[in-house]
């Protein structure tokens, strides 16, 4: 009888090329996604060493971080640095013979949205990208994580990565989510519970009824923000929903190869009795909508609660952290979350820029108007998401309500393009990071679900989506 293994153990074992005495392993990489920001220096390194890309067919390039999200600005990128980075990616694709989606390709979008959309992301594979939100692809039962640029170069040159095996953590989300409470609230609650370093050194497998009940889009939201809990990779065992999502995608296997793949994928689950180094449980049934109040994704509050005060800190270090966050966020502490007025609303990003997210937001805003003092925008995660939304008439609902309807890209999630907060602006954002300056110099970010961001845009302040009518 073979030893019981976790899902992570199984994928890991299937990809080990070599193990050194101290446990550092050479891991084979099946899929490499590349974007314009973290790759130029890697390609430059290849050129200097006269190295080729080892497996061009396992490499996919797309431009997302720098591209403006209005049609005019896309056609003529003004920022010379952004333009150079975009052009460099196209040049690298041509020089090294790699598949590349430019800003005018329908398949273009945020790298973590297009991978699954194209069927490039498959269960049981190892996937890397020079981007920490690569954890998103774990929703398909792929071992996927972010890497640095030197590692990007390493993968381009060798199709492998030197890795130490991480520990196994299980996060079990039991029960059924109440109406209005979403995958975003689940992952924010988990991060609030374990802290931003809680998963450091671990791969987290998400399981339990509430995770099984999530759509693939919801599962991607959960895995996407695994990195915000410190774990480089999140995993969800593939099931019928996974297979249904992937079937007939352009890069997914076809015919008998599909059948063979599914037979393998069905073995990708944690065995009974497999060992986890730590186990966390969360009850979904009692979960309220979550809003972050501070400058770390672990700074979470429920919609029914208030911003913490400095004196709520556990010790001096924690008090200092709360004070720093309150000062930055322009808060005193003690304010009710529902009293926080916003200036901006941003719906999009690799966390919440998929069709289901846009449907949820559209449902909230249909027939209503964005508050007079709020600027609100919706940025679809890819050209295909945009097309789908337009086919369903979602764009018209958003525009009628006063939202801007944009072209796909990373947009205001990280403000490397023209979309950014002005100093002091407070934003209800569906993105993944509320770090100081993340969405713009001195910008103030509150992370929420798409429905919560949409409702805040209409009301002008945060509201409890469960009471929305």
């Amino acid at each position: 009888m073979a030893k019981s293994r976790t899902l992570y153990d199984k994928i890991w074992d299937d990809h080990v090329v070599d193990v050194q005495p101290d446990g550092a392993s050479l891991l084979y990489i099946d899929r490499h996604l590349v974007h314009e920001v973290t790759s130029p220096q890697a390609f430059e390194g290849l050129r200097m060493a006269k190295r080729k890309v080892r497996a061009p067919e396992k490499t996919l390039l797309v431009v997302d971080h720098n591209v403006p999200t209005t049609a005019d600005a896309r056609a003529d990128v003004i920022d010379p640095e952004s333009k150079a980075q975009i052009e460099q990616l196209a040049q690298n694709a041509a020089d090294f013979g790699l598949e590349y989606y430019d800003a005018f390709d329908k398949r273009q979008g945020i790298v973590h949205i297009i991978g699954p959309e194209q069927g490039f992301t498959l269960p049981g594979t190892t996937i890397v990208c020079g981007d920490s939100h690569t954890s998103t692809h774990g929703a398909f039962g792929a071992l996927a994580h972010g890497i640095g640029t030197s590692e990007v170069e390493h993968v381009l040159a060798t199709q492998t990565l030197i890795q130490k095996k991480a520990k196994n953590m299980l996060v079990k989300v039991n029960g059924k989510l109440p109406a209005g409470v979403t995958a975003k609230d689940i992952i924010l609650a988990i991060i609030g519970k374990i802290g931003t370093a809680g998963g450091t050194g671990h791969v987290i497998e998400f399981a339990g009824e509430a995770i099984r009940d999530l759509s693939m889009e919801g599962r991607m939201t959960v895995c996407n923000m695994t990195i915000e809990g410190g774990a480089r990779a999140g995993l969800i065992a593939p099931d019928e929903k996974t297979f249904a999502y992937l079937k007939d995608r352009p890069k997914a296997p076809k015919g008998t190869a599909w059948d063979e793949a599914v037979r393998y994928w069905e073995t990708l689950h944690t065995d009974e009795g497999a060992h986890f180094d730590s186990v966390i449980e969360l009850d979904a049934a009692n979960l309220p909508p979550i809003v972050t109040w501070g400058t770390s994704p672990e700074d979470v509050a429920t919609i029914e609660s208030a911003v913490p005060r400095v004196e709520d800190g556990r010790d001096d270090q924690h008090k200092a952290k709360i004070k720093r966050a309150l000062d930055y966020m322009g808060l005193n502490g003690g304010e009710k979350i529902t009293d926080l007025k916003i200036d901006r609303a941003f719906i999009g990003s690799c966390t919440n820029g998929r069709i289901e997210d846009l449907r949820a937001a559209a449902k909230v805003v249909e027939g209503k108007k964005v508050a007079a003092h709020v600027n609100a925008m919706v940025v679809p995660g890819s050209g295909l998401v945009k097309d789908q939304a337009e086919a369903e008439g979602l764009d018209k609902i958003f525009v009628a309500a006063g939202f801007e309807w944009r072209e796909p890209g990373c947009s205001m999630c990280l403000a490397m393009n023209p979309d950014k907060l002005a100093p002091g602006e407070r934003c209800a954002s569906t993105s993944n990071r509320n770090f100081e300056g993340r969405q713009g110099f001195k910008g103030r970010t509150h992370l929420v679900s798409p429905a919560m961001a949409a409702a805040a845009a209409i009301a002008g302040h945060f509201v409890d989506i469960r009471k929305w009518s």
């Binding site: 640095e81 990195i227 300056g437």
Partner: protein, 252 residues
Amino acid sequence: MLHEVARGAEWQDHSGGPKQGYFLLTRGAGRLIERPNLATLWRPSDTTDLNPMDKFTTLTGVAAPLPITNIDTDMIIPKQYLKTIARTGLGSGLFSELRFKEDGSEIPDFVLNQPAYRKATIIVAEDNFGCGSSREHAPWALLDYGIRCVISTSFADIFYNNCFQNGILPAKVSKEDLKKLMDDASRGANATLSIDLAKQEITGPDGGVVKFDIDESNKHCLLNGLDAIGLTLVKEAQISSFEEKHNKHAWA
């Protein structure tokens, strides 16, 4: 290579005096032109001898205290500096939102702006240093500024790996020892620490010795300045034979 050359700009090196000189500006550091007062802080003379593949054996230098928890990579190097296509020149953007006001002038209170710490080569910080974005620009910025070692109780995984690719030592110490080292680092002109990687020891200004953790393979690569790609390519035959079997899977 997309380099611009700024000529005759005034800048300052670690020894303090203003100098006339040439230096290379990368596109990322091109921000220097927009905010010329930053140029006075750019210190190419200190960093030209820092190469990612330089060996790391011992280091004695000024340690700057950053008593902040969860210092994320957006804080270490904000997004506007990520538009470079080079690895160098990012030192000017290191901690820029903590170091500089909106008009580009210095925030005097920030530790690296204080006279005693301008020459810092070591940073001492609270838990979970380097969390967030995978940007290797963070270690590139640290290295370009002149930082060769960061001491904390814990590091985020991706940042931690990125350090070793760039010859930076991320030294993990216990909570108690970090408190000692944070005190040591707070002594201004006397905040000098000595690090011995082979012995995994940090010696404070009073001679007190603290041990730090590092695994053997990372230690070996740092001590010998090894290039990971070169090491892996030695295993080419193994990779090829793995790949041949692996590629037969329908899902691979």
